[in-house]
């Protein structure tokens, strides 16, 4: 009687997603569009920051659009549509993250060549989105002052897989005794060298630097 055999496989479980993300990244590059995604906890201010981002960039003459992931509602898309830029909703149902398939499906036959920047707002979740490449060029992780400065240590993976950290709700920092230096140190501990910015959508503080950073990436793309 022969014994069961052990066979070597070596297959990346997320291979399908990674392959699709790679082809999306190529499609984005071919279309000359910069793709920026936002990840954070629910309530960190992704939609508020995105609303501000879309309307400010639109005023500068850039062609911007957004894909918005949400579990069940289309409230976010309704809010963002007020910025008068094209917005598409991805309702994920019970799924706690976006993946490359959802992005591809939502894009459909959207004319990406007409765009300068496409924003993707992930579902509010600090764990699951970290495993899925969406083909984006820049992943921004948001951390709000009301969540506390130790969030990076609690969710090191999402910070480690992101490119830029934006600390939001800076207008509330003193109210909640937010320790900015500790937050910056924690971010550097889980993602050394990470660019970190502080903003308040409410007062407008830091927004110019933040927008400049995004626009600088558009210019980098153009110069490549």
């Amino acid at each position: 009687m022969s014994t069961p055999r052990l066979v070597e496989v070596r297959q990346n479980v997320l291979k399908q997603n990674d392959l699709l993300a790679r082809s999306l990244r190529k499609r984005f590059a071919d279309s000359g569009v910069l793709v920026v995604s936002f990840v954070s906890t629910p309530g960190a201010g992704k939609t508020a920051l995105l609303e501000r981002t879309l309307s400010s960039l639109r005023e500068t003459g850039l062609q911007v659009a957004a894909l918005v992931g949400d579990l069940a509602t289309d409230n976010d898309a309704d809010r963002l549509a007020r910025s008068k830029v094209p917005v598409r909703q991805i309702t994920t149902g019970t799924v706690c993250h976006l993946d490359a398939t959802m992005v591809e499906k939502a894009l459909g036959d959207w004319n990406l060549e007409a765009l300068d920047i496409l924003f993707i707002e992930n579902v509010g979740n600090m764990v699951c989105p970290s495993s899925y490449d969406l083909g984006e060029n820049l992943r921004i992780v948001l951390l709000s002052t009301t969540e506390g400065e130790d969030k990076p240590l609690k969710y090191p993976t999402i910070f480690n897989t992101s490119d830029v950290a934006v600390i939001t709700k800076m207008d509330l920092a003193s109210v909640v005794d937010f320790d900015l230096e500790a937050a910056r140190t924690n971010i550097q501990h889980v993602r050394p060298g990470m660019k970190t910015l502080e903003v308040s959508v409410k007062t407008g503080a830091g927004i110019t630097d933040y927008l400049d950073l995004i626009v600088s990436h558009v210019n980098q793309k153009v110069s490549i």
């Binding site: 009687m1 052990l6 297959q11 479980v13 090191p156 993976t157 889980v190 060298g193």
Partner: protein, 124 residues
């Protein structure tokens, strides 16, 4: 929790591979799981059992090898294993370094399969 969808992809992949190799049943799946994969081990083990139901993997075991995070320390000019993913610093000299060499794996490395004949023998 995205571990269920990950478990389902694993089962789907293993089922296909098992059929391709002429197997009837999968006894075990060997997985390398990086600490930076974003996947929670316990949640994956729990989801795996559910995902295996009604497939050639039903009753199989998932054997997970944890892969610690290995970084490149520019000051020591060598690879180092992190003590904790809360601090990306060289354990020898303390230099902060973002350069991850290992630790993002979510990789099925091997599986144990049984062929038709073996299953029939085992059942008789």
């Amino acid at each position: 929790m995205h571990e269920l969808s990950i478990a389902m992809s694993m089962v789907e992949m293993a089922t296909e591979e098992c059929r391709r190799l002429g197997g009837e049943r999968v006894n075990s799946l060997h997985l390398k799981l990086g600490l930076l994969s974003g996947v929670v081990k316990d949640a994956l083990l729990f989801s795996y059992e559910i995902a295996c139901e009604g497939t050639p993997l039903q009753g199989s075991s998932l054997l997970i090898e944890d892969v610690p995070v290995k970084v490149f320390c520019p000051r020591c000019a060598s690879e180092k294993t992190l003590d904790s993913i809360q601090l990306f610093a060289c354990p020898a000299c303390g230099e902060l370094t973002p350069e991850v060499i290992e630790g993002r794996e979510l990789l099925v490395v091997a599986m144990e399969i049984e062929e038709k004949q073996q299953v029939a023998e085992a059942m008789s």
